[in-house]
Amino acid sequence: MVSRRENNTQRIAALDTGAETLGLKPGMGIADARAMHPSIEVVEADPEADRRLLESLADWCDRYTPLVALDGADGLILDITGCSHLFGGERALLDDLLSRLFHQGLEARAGLASTAGAAWAAARFHGSQVVAAGQEAALIEPLPLASLRLERETCAGLESVGLHTAGAVMQVARAPLVRRFGKKVVRRIDQALGHVEEAISPRLPVPAFSVERQLSEPVSLTGDIEKLLLLLAKGLKDDLEQRGKGAERLQLLLFRVDGAVSRITVGASRPLRDPAIIGKLFHERLSALQDDIDAGYGFDLVRLSALEVSGLDAVQSDLVGPQAPSEEDVALFADRVRARLGAESLLRPVPVASHIPEGAVRLAPFAEVPAAGRGSAAVSFVRERPIRLLRHPDPVEMVAPPALNFRWRRAVHHVVRAEGPERIAPEWWRDETATPTRDYFRVEDEDGRRYWLFREIPLPAVERSSRWFIHGLFA
C-alpha cells in the first residue's frame, strides 16, 4: 500500500489487490486504515521514481511503435497505426504486450481502440479489450463519467444534475452542457467517438529511417551485437540509397529481455551509409561503453535508426580501384575518436581576430570546422609568439628586481637576454570587468631556454606593485 500526504493528512494513494479485499479504498486516511488493520504495510509515495519507471516503460514500448506518449502519471499511449501486422494483428500485439509486462512483474491494463479516448476508457474500465472501429459509443455508454477523462469537479457537477453515466451525458442537448460545464465535456466525447482528431505527441522524435531485428534467442556478446549491427546497417544502406541520403547521427537501440533499453548514439562529421564504416563507429562506441552496458540475460530486439540525415549523392567509383586517400580518411578517423573518447579529444585550432594572446585562437571539435576553412587558409599572425602557451599564466617571483631573474616552479632562472616590452592592452570594448594591461617580454636564461613573461600593470584603483607571470615557452 502506498501513502501520500494530502491536505495535511496521510492518505492512501494506491493499494494492491490484497489490501483491496480488506475493504480499504484510495483516499482513506492512513490512521483509519491502521486502526482497521494494524498489520498493513505502508510505503511513502515517490512520484519521481514512478515517473522514471513510466519513462523506462515507454522506452521499452518503443519495440511496438516509435510513437509512444506519456499519459498523466500512470499511463502510456501507443500509436500503433500501421504496426499491428508486424506482431500478427491487434489482438496478438495486445496479448504479447500484456504477457511481457506480466513477466516483468508489472500489472498492467490495456485497451485498444480506433481513438485514444475510447482506448483509454477500455483500458481503465474494461480490462484488456480490443474495440472494433465504430463500436466506441457502445463501449463508453454504460461507463461512469470518469471514463470521459474529465476532472473530478466536472464529474461531481454532472452527477449533481443526475447524469451518472457517459451515455446519459451524450444524450443531453449540447448547448446547455457547454454553457454550464464548459467546452471540454463535449470535446472529450467527440474525441472518444472519433468525431474530432486528437493529437498524440510522442516523447521522442521519430527517426527518419530504422531497421530492426527480432531475435528468438537473445544475444549478449558484444561481438554478436556488432555482427547484427552490420546486417542492420546493410538494410539501412538500401533505404538511405533509395532516397539519396546519408546518416549524420545514428542510434542503436538494444532491448533487453527484462525490459531495459540501451540507446547508443554516434555522430558522423559527414553523411555516411557504408555499413563497414557504421560498424567501425559503433565498434569504438561499444568498446568505450563496455562497462556501462549490462547485457543481463541478453537482448532480444536490436534496432538501428538514422536520427539525422542529409543529402548524400552516390560517387562514381573508379575502374582502377579505390581513390587515393583523401580528407575522408581523416574525417572517419575523427569520427571514431569522437565516438570513443568524446568530441573534445580531437580539436582543430581556429584563428580568431583578437590581439589578446589567449583569445587569438579557438579550439573547435573537428566536425565543427567548416571544410572550406581547412587547408591553406591565409592567416596573418603577429610575430614573436611562443609555441606553447600555458592555459593559465603562472605567477613567477622576481629574484632581484632590476634584473629579470625569476623563480618559476622552485627553480631560479638567470635571464641573460631579454626583448620587450610588448604592451598588450585588454579589449575594453568587449569585457566590462577591468583587466590590467600587460607588458610582455621574451627572455632567455643562461641555459638557452626561452620564455614569455609578462608584467601586469596594476590598475590605478589598486594599490599594489606589479606582478609577474610566465605565459608561454618558445622553441
Binding site: 570513443r340 584563428p351 611562443p386 608561454g472
Partner: protein
C-alpha cells in the same frame, strides 16, 4: 672469384629485404655502395650536413623516432626540434597531428597555433590536436592516427616513463607509422632512455638563440632563431655525437652552428669493415655502452630474449 662476390651481393640484397621487413634502417655500415640507392628515399634529412651524415642520411622518413628532453623545463627546445622535423616532413600543406596527454599540456603549455605558424610554418588549418587524460587513450589515438596515410607527420607527446609505453607498444606504433608511411615523433619530456622499438633516439637540450640579423650584421643582445643541442643517443649507424643546430624557417632546415667545437665532440664515423666483424675501436665503444643506470623502472627491463632490442641492437646481427 666471381662466385663469392655474387654470393655476397645476394646476401646484401637479402639483408636489405630483412631490414625492410623489420622496419629497420637499411644498414649503412654493411655496404657503403648500396646505401645511396636503397635508403636515401626513406630518409628525412635535417638539413645540417654533418648531422645527416652521422645519421646515415637523416632521420627515418617513416616510422618511430624518439626525441627526449632531460627535464620538463626543456620542453620548449625538444618540442621545437620535433616540430621543425614535422615541418620539414609536411611542407606547406601537409596535415600533421599533435597528440598528447592532458598532463604534459598542463605542465608545459598547450600547443599555440600562432607561434607554430610563425616559427615553423605549420598553419592552423593543417594541424590536428589530440588530447585526453588517460595515457591508454592517447596511445590509442596515436595508433589510429599512425595508420592514416593522409597525415604527413605525427607528434606524440608524453611525460616521464610510464609503464604502458613498453617495447610492445612502441613496436606497434612503429609498425603502424611504417604502414602509414610517415614519421611518428615520440616526444618524451623529462624521460630517461629506455628500451623502445624506435630505431633512432635523440636527446634535445636548449642552447642560446642566435642574434637577429640586421643590415649592419647581427644585433647584439637580441633573441633570434632558436638553437638546439641535439645528441644522437641511439642509432644503428651512428656513434653518440652532439651537434649545435639553429632552425631557419626561410629554408625550412637546420643549420649547424660553431663547427669547430662540435667537430671535437663528435666521434668519427665508424668505417665499414669488410668481413662484418666489428673491429673498429669506435664501434666497439658503442656496443659496450651499458644502458643508462637510472634508465627506467626495474619492471621496465625486458626479459632476456627481448634484450637485443634494448638501446643498440648491434650484436643481434
Amino acid at each position: 672469384m666471381a662466385k663469392p662476390a655474387m654470393a655476397r651481393d645476394a646476401v646484401r640484397v637479402l639483408r636489405h629485404q630483412i631490414a625492410k621487413m623489420e622496419g629497420r634502417l637499411a644498414e649503412r655500415l654493411q655496404s657503403s655502395d648500396t646505401c645511396g640507392t636503397g635508403s636515401s628515399a626513406a630518409l628525412l634529412a635535417t638539413g645540417a650536413p654533418r648531422l645527416d651524415a652521422t645519421l646515415g642520411g637523416g632521420l627515418p622518413a617513416a616510422g618511430l623516432t624518439e626525441i627526449h628532453s632531460a627535464i620538463t623545463r626543456d620542453a620548449g627546445a625538444a618540442t621545437g626540434f620535433a616540430l621543425a622535423m614535422m615541418s620539414r616532413a609536411a611542407g606547406e600543406n601537409g596535415l600533421v597531428a599533435w597528440i598528447g596527454t592532458g598532463e604534459i599540456f598542463r605542465e608545459a603549455g598547450h600547443p599555440y597555433a600562432p607561434g607554430l605558424a610563425e616559427r615553423f610554418g605549420i598553419l592552423p588549418g593543417t594541424l590536428l590536436l589530440g588530447e585526453t587524460e588517460k595515457l591508454a587513450d592517447v596511445l590509442w589515438i596515436a595508433e589510429e592516427a599512425a595508420a592514416l596515410g593522409r597525415l604527413a607527420g605525427i607528434l606524440l607527446e608524453l611525460r616521464g616513463s610510464p609503464s604502458l609505453l613498453d617495447l610492445k607498444t612502441t613496436q606497434r606504433l612503429h609498425r603502424r607509422a611504417l604502414s602509414g608511411n610517415h614519421p611518428l615523433f615520440l616526444l618524451r619530456q623529462a624521460s630517461p632512455s629506455e628500451p623502445t622499438a624506435a630505431p633512432v633516439r635523440l636527446m634535445v637540450a636548449p642552447i642560446a638563440a642566435g642574434s637577429r640579423l640586421t643590415l649592419r650584421g647581427p644585433l647584439y643582445g637580441s633573441i633570434g632563431p632558436p638553437g638546439f643541442r641535439v645528441s644522437v643517443d641511439k642509432s644503428r649507424v651512428s656513434p653518440p655525437a652532439t651537434f649545435n643546430l639553429e632552425w631557419n624557417l626561410q629554408t625550412r632546415s637546420f643549420e649547424e652552428r660553431d663547427h669547430v667545437s662540435a667537430a671535437t665532440d663528435s666521434v668519427a664515423l665508424a668505417a665499414a669493415t669488410a668481413d662484418g666483424s666489428h673491429s673498429s675501436p669506435a664501434f666497439r665503444e658503442v656496443v659496450a655502452l651499458a644502458p643508462s643506470p637510472g634508465g627506467g623502472a626495474p619492471g621496465g627491463q625486458p626479459p632476456g630474449e627481448q634484450h637485443p632490442a634494448h638501446r643498440r641492437a648491434r650484436h643481434r646481427r
